[in-house]
């Protein structure tokens, strides 16, 4: 039983890492109905800019963080101006296709930065000061192995979600974001400038990408594979619902826990290695039962 809990907690904490990436998707989907294919690329880009600043300019953590945030905000504003603005009033699918193009562009930019700064493309280590080592007192008291780093990541994700929830629900801009997501025409009529709001959404998504990039970079090194982390966010979104911040968290927890438990308890029967794809099977099953996700909005069309 104690082993079960160990696996479960490990899974839940790993799931939080997926949630961090999923959050970026949810933000943009909520505010513009667009699935941002470039989110994974933004995670990679943010982490890389951060590492470059830290290593090449010897910038302390907070300075590097602030500068990277500035860069991500600029990317957000630029995205609005160059990619989104010409596509106002176009079908959603056009916007989606545009984000695929954006993904290649951002990935390319990140690789250029990496080559220019480090002259090779091997993973760069990123230290946040939390080792992937067990928490001592949990080990002593309950004989359970819980990673210090994972616990730290969970705390960061929790704080981020709380901050975003407050921002979305308690401020004028947050309200404006939700209003724009709901009805463009009505939002304009009460004086909400669409372009400004989109720039903010993409900047906030850039901020979330930065936090996710730091966490994932610290865990597995800053490398091109970070862009693929976005793929793990997909089953999380399908479970949680594309419109819900809470859904991204709960979805992440379920996916993380389920794939670890499946690996340990079902894995031996099929020869192991199911952690990599179990999440997608789960998402597929979920689509059959509840396509809108746990917290998504059910769309009822009037006929």
């Amino acid at each position: 039983m104690q082993f079960f809990f160990e696996v479960l907690i490990g899974g839940l904490l790993a799931g939080v890492m997926y949630s961090l990436v999923a959050l970026g998707f949810v933000l943009i989907f909520k505010a513009s109905g667009v699935f941002n294919f470039a989110q994974g690329a933004m995670v990679f880009f943010a982490a890389l800019v951060f590492v470059t600043l830290q290593e090449k300019l010897a910038a302390p953590f907070w300075l590097a963080f602030a500068l990277t945030l500035v860069v991500m905000v600029l990317v957000g504003i630029l995205t609005e101006r160059v990619v989104l603005r010409p596509l106002v009033n176009q079908p959603q699918i056009s916007l989606f296709m545009a984000t695929i193009g954006l993904a290649f562009f951002v990935e390319g930019a990140a690789q250029l930065v990496q080559l220019w700064a480090f002259r090779d493309i091997s993973p760069r280590p990123l230290a946040l000061g939390f080792q992937d080592a067990p928490i001592d007192w949990l080990l002593a008291r309950f004989n359970m192995l819980v990673s210090r780093f994972d616990a730290f990541a969970a705390l960061v994700a929790g704080a981020l979600v709380a901050a975003l929830a407050l921002f979305f629900n308690k401020t004028r801009v947050g309200r404006a974001l939700r209003a724009v997501a709901d009805d463009h025409q009505a939002a304009l009529s009460v004086g909400i400038p669409l372009k400004y709001i989109w720039a903010i959404v993409w900047s906030v998504a850039g901020f979330v990408a930065l936090v996710a990039g730091l966490m994932w970079g610290a865990r597995s090194g800053v490398q091109f594979a970070l862009t693929l982390v976005a793929l793990k966010a997909l089953p999380v979104l399908i479970l949680g619902g594309f419109e819900s911040i809470a859904g991204a968290i709960v979805g992440g927890l379920i996916i993380g826990a389920a794939e670890k438990l499946a690996e340990v308890y079902l894995g031996p029967y099929v020869g192991g290695g199911i952690e990599g794809w179990f999440a997608y099977v789960l998402a597929l099953l979920f689509l059959l039962v509840r396509p809108e996700g746990l917290f998504g909005e059910k769309h009822i069309d009037r006929v």
């Binding site: 308690k170 004028r172 009460v190 909400i192």
Partner: protein, 262 residues
């Protein structure tokens, strides 16, 4: 109701507005004015260009010809959010509320332009943001009180019946404390009782806040009762303009509504 033409200053004047979509002429050389403090009705058969006219006034459509003068400022084209900033609020024919948000939040969006806290202050939820939320919340509560929708303030708008949604939309427009309020068929689809309520609210808004109102309505009884002057459009042209009595007696109007014998 007062039939004498109000003699206040001109708040809004549209001059020689022409608007077409491809080959379809929605408005052709339409001019009229709206005086401060009056209730002005725009009527006409379906497809006469009434909603297009409102859309021109608040900047959703940009006319090919003509100008809109509002508060003494003449402009060719304006964006809807600029129009809102200048003091024009509106409601829509097919309710355009933020369906997923509560009644309170919907009305709070109407205060959007009045709030001053910077993005940074909002991001960390300190200083002016907190104070502002409270101040504006109070104003919103007054409007909620005024329109008698206290009991639904926390309900998501999507769940409300049609008549109440219309009222929430009016509340959101009022929250901006507009100088000019555009109402696109505020009573469409309502039963008699709801219509009476809405009429009363429109008159109260006009009287208590002194808000100038331009409204489109199909119910002739309502129009004749509450408006001071009426513009009649037909096929994008203005065919009559005057007090309800004058308009009702105008042969061109009768022809437009009932058809002409050939």
């Amino acid at each position: 109701m007062s039939a004498q033409p109000p003699d206040g200053e001109v708040l809004l004047a549209v001059d020689n507005i022409s608007l077409s979509f491809g080959g379809v002429k929605a408005l052709a050389d339409v001019s009229f004015d709206v005086r401060r403090g009056e209730i002005r009705a725009i009527i006409g058969p379906n497809g006469a260009g009434k909603s297009s006219m409102l859309n021109v006034i608040n900047g959703v459509y940009h006319p090919q010809q003509g100008t809109v003068r509002f508060r003494g400022e003449t402009r060719r084209r304006v964006d809807p959010h600029r129009a809102a900033a200048n003091g024009i609020a509106r409601t829509f024919q097919n309710i355009a509320l933020f369906k997923g948000m509560s009644v309170l939040d919907n009305i709070m969006t109407g205060r959007n332009l009045k709030m001053r806290a910077t993005l940074f202050e909002q991001a960390i939820y300190v200083g002016r943001n907190r104070r502002e939320e409270l101040v504006h919340r109070e104003k919103v509560e007054q409007i909620i009180d005024f329109l008698q929708i206290e009991h639904i303030r926390k309900t998501p708008v999507g769940r409300l019946p049609y008549g109440l949604q219309k009222r929430v939309e009016l509340a959101r427009a009022l929250a901006a404390e507009p100088a000019l309020l555009l109402l696109d068929e505020p009573m469409a689809g309502m039963n008699v009782e709801e219509k009476q309520d809405m009429c009363r609210f429109v008159l109260d808004v006009n009287e208590e806040f002194g808000t100038t109102i331009v409204l489109i309505e199909h119910d002739m009884g309502v129009v004749m009762d509450i408006s001071e002057r009426v513009v009649v459009l037909d096929y994008g042209r203005k065919i009559a303009d005057g007090s309800p009595q004058e308009v009702r007696a105008n042969p061109a109007v009768i022809d437009a509504y009932l058809g002409v014998a050939h």
